[in-house]
Symmetry: C2
Subunit: 217 residues, 2 copies
């Protein structure tokens, strides 16, 4: 396991600190759909995503979900260690959206190191600030852009990220990622299909024409 | 000027660093309505609010404004120094909502100190993370709560913050704070007035009955 690549603060740890984290680190598999984090009370630790994908979301009293951001293989999930960050005082939920393997550094061990090593805390807050950027972007999308633009943007970003023109994803999943309702997403997708930007097959959205899709961004 | 109270990282500066910041610090007055920060390009520095109030907001292409959070006397405005924070990659606008005096530590001087002193950078990111908390709260309000609750909550919080039952504020200002439209806010206020929770006078909202107002939260 390449700790130095997964956790950029690794170079600033002493040998003893590296050794303590090495011995406490755990590889954990989360099945698709598993809730990995529910509130600051079950604050497991810092997770580097080895394979798979997770999403961080907020939930209303009525059960409405809004996805704040996603993390993919190679990213680090810092809000699963939010108990280490006094200045982060909000609760989010974190769900595995695919079968996901993570390398986890448990909170108690990190906490001990943080007391003497400001670089670990700085890394955690920096990573949180990157997520702050993602959340402001999400907020701008939800508040300022129309739902058809957001669906088109989501498909556009996914093809860019995965390098594939066929996306295996349900309308319901897209709705939860962009903070909308399934019916609305289905309607927009039908509209995009009528304009030959995409083709809809069972469980798959196939991008037919990226230039046409771009018009809807 | 009590630098140690305004800037909590002060105790972790060397004498030379303190001296450099002392000599570069500026007291600046911003008139009500002045735009103090427009984008990362005019990144002036870290501002401690001495008197007054500022709001940080985002703006859509169509000119719609959504207030992310406000800062008051004794608070520090960190996003006016966002160029110092690589991980913060979004643009906000910052406006003085009252005549506001700030003590500003200019970015170039802070930047130099940050190269050798991780505690300054840690402080900036920690403060940014507190604002992250505010923004998630704002997002939950906007996405999950009805506009009448948000108006009532705003009035409730303002009476708690100022300790006064009479708020000198226009309907338009409330609309911009809670990310709604003036007409909508006026309608809700009329509704609250009909229920004897508030009384509306020219330029003033008077809270008549806090218990009645609480029902609308």
């Amino acid at each position: 396991m390449d700790y130095a690549r997964l956790f950029p603060f690794w170079a600033q740890l002493s040998l003893e600190e590296k050794d303590a984290l090495h011995r406490s680190a755990q590889t954990v598999r989360h099945k698709k759909g598993a809730l990995m984090h529910r509130s600051a009370e079950n604050c497991k630790g810092l997770m580097a995503i080895l394979t798979g994908q997770m999403r961080t979301y907020i939930l209303s009293d009525e059960g409405r979900e809004v996805t704040l951001f996603r993390v993919h293989a190679g990213d680090v999930c810092v809000l699963s260690a939010s108990c280490l960050l006094d200045a982060v005082a909000f609760d989010v939920l974190i769900e595995a959206t695919e079968d996901t393997d993570v390398l986890m550094l448990p909170s108690p061990y990190l906490s001990e190191i943080m007391e003497n090593n400001p670089y670990v805390e700085l890394y955690l807050y920096k990573t949180a600030a990157e997520k702050f950027t993602d959340v402001v972007w999400t907020m701008q999308q939800i508040l300022f852009r129309k739902v058809d633009q957001r669906v088109a943007q989501f498909i556009w970003d996914e093809t860019a990220r995965t390098g594939a023109l066929a996306l295996r994803i349900t309308h319901d999943e897209i709705a939860r990622y962009i903070g909308s309702a399934r019916e609305v997403v289905s309607k927009v997708l039908k509209y995009l299909a009528e304009h030959q930007a995409v083709e809809l097959r069972r469980g798959v959205i196939h991008v037919l024409d990226k230039e046409k899709l771009k018009i809807f961004l």
